[in-house]
Structures are given as structure tokens and as C-alpha cells.
């Protein structure tokens, strides 16, 4: 939790969108207004469970103009680390949660001549907020949305109403898939592409853009990869002399937070660089998209939000 304090919010409404996805509408517990945000922002939701506290990032999907409420959607992940299950099973309307102030690591480029938005599954959420901005600006955009099947086509009606024929839907069960090379070929100068979805989709879009000679600054992606589950290990904090255990289903960051520390972090997904920490001793299994390969190999630094230890013990410069 870098800097600003969390905001207590009340769950005003819960909607079952698909069998797997619920949308939560959150309002400030004290009735005040919420901080403004831009499309693509996320908040970190703190859920205080009985056994442990979860901190999960979720994209804000409501209108950036609405200061009364935030909306997030949570896809239930039965094999995950428990945060999404908590949201689905434990949270009821009227309950209280905490959210961080919004951060945007997936913003639209206001100078773009055209925006190509590509979403897979729950990856549609950041775009729902961005579409408000694009429509208000009268921007040139295309929305490409891929889902598993009709039953899992979350928000399809809302998207159709918002985008009209700028929306192209891809029903995987009908053999329809996004073809990145086709979408990105022959696009005019000043086009930007944004992709949010499963890893394979993000990689395919990045590869196609590279093949076609797109400059990196025109390719934007966001992956909400939850920190992987692994074996427990010990972390020694050299400066403070503390020693803690990182459970298999927690990240180092979460274990430190549970121990009452407040390490720097923003994205919790290994992309922003905020949580970079020097490693004094130990072997690291790197799961981030931030550190350069040679640094990863040297085991000298790690991103504590997603990476774990390969050794039984690591010593961090904290």
C-alpha cells in the first residue's frame, strides 16, 4: 500500500452476471465521494477473512464520471488463492470492504488516432470504463471481445448498446477467435492496441504487433495474473531482523503485509516495478514481467508481489 490510505466502502449491490462472474457496486461507507479515476485503472480490494487477509487488484469498470460508486467484477476461481471465492461466498450486500485509491497502469493514449481494444473473458472489465472515455471523446475505436461461449459472454448486451457496430464478438465455442495479425495489419499511423485477457492472447497480440513492425509504445497490455501458488518458504528481513514464513498460497508481499509491514506495491501483478526488492541470499523463481533477464538470472533482485523462492530460505534487504 503505497502512500495513500484505504477507503472503507459498503457493498451496495451484487449482480450475478454469468455463472462465474459477479459485479459488485461499492459506495463510500461514510457517504462521501470517491476519488476520480481514468479508464483502465484498478483498485486493490482488501478482504479481511477469518484465516487471512486478501488483497486483490480489480479493474474499475463503471463510468469515470461517477464519483458516487465504483464497480468491479470478480470471476470465481475455484483453484485460486481464495480472494475471488471470498468475494463470491462471503461478501453480501451491505458488507464493508476496503479499497485502495485507483491507480492506472493501462491508460488510453490520448494522442492515438485509433484505438483497437482486444479483450478475452473477464479481461473486458478495464475496457468497460475506457469505452466511456472513448465515446465521450468521439474517438475512433474498435472493440474486439472474445469469450468461451454465450453463457460466459459477460456484459455482452451492455457492450452492444455502448459500441454498436464497433463491437466484434468472438464466440470460442463456435470456433471464432481473435486473429491479431489480421486486426493489426494495415492500420493507419497513430493506431494503438490494448489487450487484456489470458496470457496466450496477450502474447499473440504482442507477437503480431512485433512482426508488423509496431513500435512498443503503441502496444498496451494488462494481465491480472494472480501470484502463483507454490511451496512455503522462509524469508529473512536483513534490516529489521524479522523472519517470517510465506505460505504456499500467499505471495511474499502478502506475507509481509500479514506481519504488519507495508512494502511498496501498485499492480500486484509483476508489471509496475514498484515492489522491486534486493535479494541478499537465496534463489528466486521469477514470475514477473518487469526485471530484465540478466537481473533475474543473477538472483540479485525480486518482485515480491509475484515471485517466490526456489530455495527454502531467502534473505531480503528489507
Amino acid at each position: 500500500m503505497t502512500g495513500q490510505a484505504n477507503i472503507p466502502v459498503r457493498v451496495a449491490r451484487i449482480e450475478q452476471i454469468t455463472p462465474m462472474i459477479r459485479r459488485f457496486t461499492l459506495e463510500r461507507s461514510d457517504g462521501g465521494t470517491l476519488p476520480g479515476f481514468s479508464g483502465g485503472s484498478h483498485v486493490v480490494v482488501t478482504m479481511r477473512g477469518e484465516e487471512r487477509t486478501h488483497h486483490n487488484p480489480y479493474s474499475l469498470m463503471g463510468s469515470p464520471d461517477d464519483k458516487q460508486r465504483y464497480q468491479i467484477s470478480v470471476r470465481r476461481d475455484d483453484d485460486g488463492r481464495g480472494g475471488s471465492l471470498f468475494m463470491h461466498q462471503k461478501v453480501a450486500e451491505g458488507d464493508t470492504l476496503e479499497v485502495s485509491p485507483p491507480t492506472n497502469l493501462f491508460a488510453l493514449n490520448p494522442l492515438a488516432e485509433r484505438h483497437i481494444l482486444i479483450a478475452g473473458g473477464i479481461g473486458i472489465t478495464p475496457f468497460m470504463a475506457q469505452l466511456h472515455e472513448l465515446r465521450r471523446a468521439g474517438a475512433d475505436y474498435q472493440m474486439h471481445y472474445a469469450f468461451r461461449d454465450q453463457e460466459n459472454a459477460a456484459f455482452r448486451d451492455e457492450l452492444e448498446a455502448a459500441c454498436g457496430d464497433r463491437l466484434t464478438a468472438y464466440d470460442g465455442s463456435a470456433g471464432q477467435f481473435v486473429q491479431p495479425a489480421q486486426l493489426l495489419g494495415e492500420q493507419p499511423l497513430g493506431t494503438h492496441v490494448y489487450v487484456c485477457g489470458p496470457k496466450g492472447m496477450i502474447e499473440a497480440v504482442n507477437e503480431a504487433a512485433f512482426e508488423l513492425g509496431w513500435a512498443d509504445s503503441h502496444v498496451h497490455w494488462e494481465e491480472f495474473a494472480a501470484p502463483p501458488v507454490g511451496k512455503p518458504f522462509r524469508v529473512v528481513l536483513q534490516k529489521s531482523g524479522m523472519e517470517i514464513t510465506v505460505p504456499g498460497a500467499s505471495s511474499v508481499l502478502e506475507a509481509l503485509e500479514d506481519a504488519g509491514l507495508q512494502p511498496n506495491c501498485l499492480c500486484r501483478g509483476g508489471v509496475c516495478g514498484e515492489c522491486e526488492t534486493a535479494v541478499v541470499e537465496g534463489e528466486i523463481e521469477h514470475n514477473d514481467h518487469f526485471l530484465p533477464d540478466d537481473v533475474k538470472q543473477s538472483n540479485s533482485r525480486m518482485m515480491i508481489c509475484v515471485s517466490r523462492a526456489r530455495s527454502e530460505r531467502v534473505v531480503l534487504d528489507l
Binding site: 499511423l189 497513430g190 493506431t191 508488423l212 513492425g213 512498443d216
Partner: protein, 203 residues
């Protein structure tokens, strides 16, 4: 890796230029030059992969040597010679409007020229990463008077009389990206009429 930088040591923000290098990730290379910039394009062209597609626009008859013949010899999809700066900028704009993502723009020439052409690229949606520039030939500076905003191309002296407001102004090392010009400020504000020696600094 940008080909130019703006060092920020105090008030100095003078771009540093390096020789043009091909961006091999690109699908289409659009090359533009004036005067002595022809040599820079020829060097750049030599470094392009054989199968690369490229197009050249050259402004002949500006200051410096005429490199038209040199460029016409290069193996290129299209090479066009222009005799007027505005005409070249128009042709460039038209080509960029029809170009696809995957294009890089390379510009070689005097400092005023390269930033005017870079601005055409930017106005067509190109980002800094997609535009590469190299200064060639004269060191003459495009300058803009901070008092009356009058712009002068090709200033070669440390001090000049601004044609807009008549003040004696000195060309500072501060380059404005947005205007593509160095900023000039009055020299004799404290003691009007007392001028330091005028020297030909930027030739």
C-alpha cells in the same frame, strides 16, 4: 533507443544527435533529407536489410551540396526530388496519411528542417520512437524570440536583431521541442545598447 536526447543539465536542453540507424523491426522506411543530409540517407540505406522497402523524399537546392544524383542511384521503391520545403512537407504528409503502422520516419538535414519534418510525423500520429533524426550540414539554428515569438531560420550568430520586435536577442541553448526552435532572449535588457561582441558561432 532514441537517436537524440535532451540532456537536462540546468538550463541546457540542446538535443544531441547521432548518426541514423535503421530500425530493423520496421516494415517500411520513409527517409527524408535536405542538402548534406543525402549522405546520411545513403549511409542509412546501406545498412537496411536487402528486402526492406523504403521511400525517399529529398529537398534539392537548399543550402549545402546537392545529393539528388547520389540518392537516385539507391535501390528504393520510390525516390522523389523536391525543390520547395512546403511541397516536400505536403508530399510527406500525404505519404504518411496512407502509411500503415510499422513505418519509421528518418530525417537528415539542418536543425530547422529535421524538426519541421518530425512535426509532420507527429501530427500524423507517429510517436517519438518512430521518428529518427540526424543533423547534417550547417549548424545554423532555427530560433524563436521569446518576447514577440517571431521565428527566424538559420541563425549563425550568437546575437541577432529580431525582425519582429527589433530587439537584440541572443540564441540560448534551450531548444523547444514544441516549436522546433532555440529560444532567443534580449541581451541588453540591463544596459540598452550595450552589446557583447557578435560572433559567428553556428556555422
Amino acid at each position: 533507443m532514441p537517436i537524440y536526447e535532451f540532456p537536462e543539465d540546468g538550463i541546457r536542453s540542446r538535443p544531441i544527435y547521432r548518426p541514423l540507424q535503421p530500425d530493423v523491426a520496421a516494415r517500411f522506411h520513409l527517409m527524408v533529407a535536405e542538402g548534406a543530409g543525402a549522405e546520411a540517407l545513403a549511409r542509412l540505406h546501406d545498412k537496411l536489410p536487402d528486402e526492406a522497402s523504403c521511400s525517399i523524399h529529398y529537398l534539392a537546392g537548399s543550402d549545402g551540396p546537392d545529393g539528388s544524383d547520389r540518392l537516385m542511384q539507391l535501390d528504393c521503391q520510390q525516390t522523389r526530388i523536391h525543390f520547395d520545403d512546403a511541397q516536400l512537407a505536403d508530399a510527406l504528409r500525404r505519404e504518411l496519411e496512407n502509411a500503415s503502422m510499422g513505418t519509421r520516419l528518418y530525417v537528415a538535414g539542418g536543425e530547422g528542417f529535421i524538426w519541421r519534418m518530425a512535426a509532420v510525423g507527429a501530427s500524423c500520429g507517429m510517436s517519438e520512437e518512430e521518428v529518427h533524426v540526424e543533423r547534417c550540414g550547417s549548424l545554423a539554428r532555427p530560433a524563436q524570440c521569446v518576447h514577440c515569438k517571431t521565428r527566424v531560420e538559420g541563425v549563425t550568430t550568437n546575437i541577432y536583431e529580431c525582425p519582429g520586435c527589433g530587439l537584440h536577442v541572443t540564441v540560448r541553448d534551450h531548444f523547444s521541442r514544441r516549436h522546433g526552435a532555440y529560444q532567443s532572449v534580449r541581451v541588453d535588457a540591463e544596459a540598452p545598447g550595450e552589446l557583447p561582441p557578435i560572433e559567428e558561432t553556428y556555422r
